[in-house]
Amino acid sequence: MTVDNHTAEETARAPGARPPARRKRPVAGWRLPRSAKLRTGLGIVLAIGLVGAVGPLLTGDPHAVSGAVLRPPSGAHWLGTTETGQDMLAQLTLATRGSVLVGLVVGAIATLVSILVGVVGGYVGGKTDETFSLVTNVVLVVPSLPLAIVIANYLDGGGLLVTILVIAMTTWAAPTRVLRAQARSVRERDYVTAAKASGERSWRIVCVEILPNLLPVVAAQFVFAVIFAVLTEAGLAFLGLAGFGSLTWGTLLYYAQNAQALILGAWWWFIPPGLLMAVFGCGLSLINFAIDEIIDPNLRSATRQRKASR
């Protein structure tokens, strides 16, 4: 990734061109960049978030058992029923809430930790930085899913919170490394030197001078962490290792697999959760690409500017 740190506003004005003068806080007047990818991505993610937030209030009791067993989609049950006659639509909306919640909470934890460890370490430097980056790199090379499987198994039946913590433990390292590299490059900029010379305190420099300039990168890392968390939770839940008593897209697939939905041909049971996961992940990826293009205008595919001078 290039170190150039264009902000949204600057690149929107003059793609590829160096900003004429560096203002103190360039991100202040934030507005949505005119990017189709960003808008589509945000639209998808917000729509699915809305399903999770409002859906369960409208669809009735997802655990209610009825005599209508393994029915395909119909007027009475829009998405069919499970083998115990539970309404799939109600189950799916609640599972959406669960999965999105896991994604957001893990994303938030991972981002906060990565800011704390990456930005602070990168800015302070010295022994602190060396210790921080050693720990980060070790966590980064230890494969996360097997570790999560092993820990989750020991914490059998720990509930959603335990699942969230287990996934967060393996998610924070990647964004930390990216943020550290960015923080180290920003540290050398003139305005940080100026702030240091004028006697500003370290925490103020980190919060006011450095962090706002890292916002696009932080946002990209957050989005990445959410995707990773949703997929990891789904994998763990599918293996029967996520906290029980809560519905997510992964637990739905787990129940479907256990009830032989595949062999019974109950496609309405396992197709929708995976499809929602794919669409949600796709929306988040689109947001990520849009942010990448804001950071590095070279990646834009719409305009054919490859001969243009940089």
Binding site: V142, I149, D156, M277, A278, S285
Partner: protein
């Protein structure tokens, strides 16, 4: 040379951390694994003989009431001799034997799939980057969608369509029950038929990443001066694309490929679970289901050490290929 020494030191620390983590996790967790195991045995198989308790403790590497430091040193010593204890799931087979039987399945299946998806992705990515802005480049967003599909769900759908509805391919396992493992034509063709669906799943779910990475690197490389020079010299486009642009753009992908080889053992845990494929992932799942801690720990260790080894090789290669990375240790 200091760079190499730093890297070696880092990987030693990482390996030590993983090994120690593996030792600490069972001891830190609430509930005694020995008790859990005894309870499960009582539930499923009636009364358990009194000496079972110490036998299980020994199998778990807890060595009874020994001092924690002694336990740790015994544990480390056992690792060096390849002694992982006895598997509970496949009692009384030693863990090392179980690992030896499941590793080849995973390595062949995931290894071949990884190579296929790398070649396919890099090839398509080269074209997409070269034809930027045309319909070919439109493939890139499509791969975003495919990459967002959870791979085990893709496995479920493929299994449903080709195994359940069309009944073209087997539903589970690594080979037919009627064939004996060995180098017979019958066994190999059966093993191939069983590997098609899991293999296709892995290729489909990972090809998009290669494609996109290669496309973006192509786009960056195409704006470099030497590509412009090559075009100005009047070289044939094909030559400019392959010898000038792609050759330089492929370097990060090669690094990524080497890293992903390290994930061959761990990368398909959930896929193997879907297909009941007799590889490491499936065995890990069996171990988890049966609270087979010795087997679980050994698999985790093998997976971690493979990943570490692959990363180490990549790091070493990197400092040979690109001297600029040496300073950035």
């Amino acid at each position: 040379m200091t760079h190499v020494r730093r890297k070696v030191l880092f990987y030693l620390v990482a390996a030590w951390a993983a090994v120690t983590l593996n030792f600490i996790i069972p001891r830190m967790m609430p509930g005694d694994p020995v008790d859990i195991l005894l309870a499960r045995m009582q539930q499923s198989g009636g009364p358990v003989p009194p000496q079972a308790r110490s036998a299980i403790a020994t199998a778990l590497g807890q060595g009874g009431d020994a001092n924690i430091l002694v336990q740790y040193l015994t544990y480390l010593g056992n690792l060096f001799t390849g002694d992982f204890g006895v598997s509970v799931t496949y009692f009384p087979t030693p863990v090392a034997t179980v690992l030896g039987q499941s590793l080849p399945w995973t390595v062949v299946l995931v290894g071949v799939s990884t190579i296929v998806s790398f070649v396919l992705g890099v090839g398509l990515g080269t074209f997409a980057g070269w034809k930027r802005g045309t319909w070919l480049d439109g493939v890139a967003p499509l791969t975003t969608f495919i990459a967002a599909i959870p791979y085990f769900w893709l496995a479920l759908v493929l299994l449903f369509v080709f195994g359940s509805v069309l009944q073209l391919l087997p539903l589970s396992g690594g080979y037919g029950y009627s064939t004996d493992p060995g180098f017979s034509l019958e066994f190999l063709s059966s093993a191939f038929r069983h590997a098609v669906l899991p293999g296709v799943t892995i290729v489909l779910s990972s090809v998009g990443g290669w494609l996109l990475g290669m496309r973006n690197m192509m786009v960056s490389t195409l704006s470099a001066d030497y590509v412009l020079t090559a075009e100005a010299k009047g070289l044939r486009p094909r030559r400019v694309m392959l010898a000038y642009a792609a050759r330089n753009a492929v370097l990060p992908s090669v690094t990524g490929f080497a890293v992903s080889l390290g994930f061959v053992v761990s990368g398909s845990i959930v896929t193997e679970a879907v297909f009941s494929y007799p590889g490491v992932g499936y065995v890990l799942l069996q171990a988890v289901k049966n609270n087979d801690y010795p087997l679980m720990q050994a698999i985790f260790l093998v997976i971690t050490l493979t990943v570490l080894a692959a990363n180490f090789v990549v790091d070493m290669l990197h400092s040979v290929i690109d001297p600029r990375t040496r300073e950035a240790g």
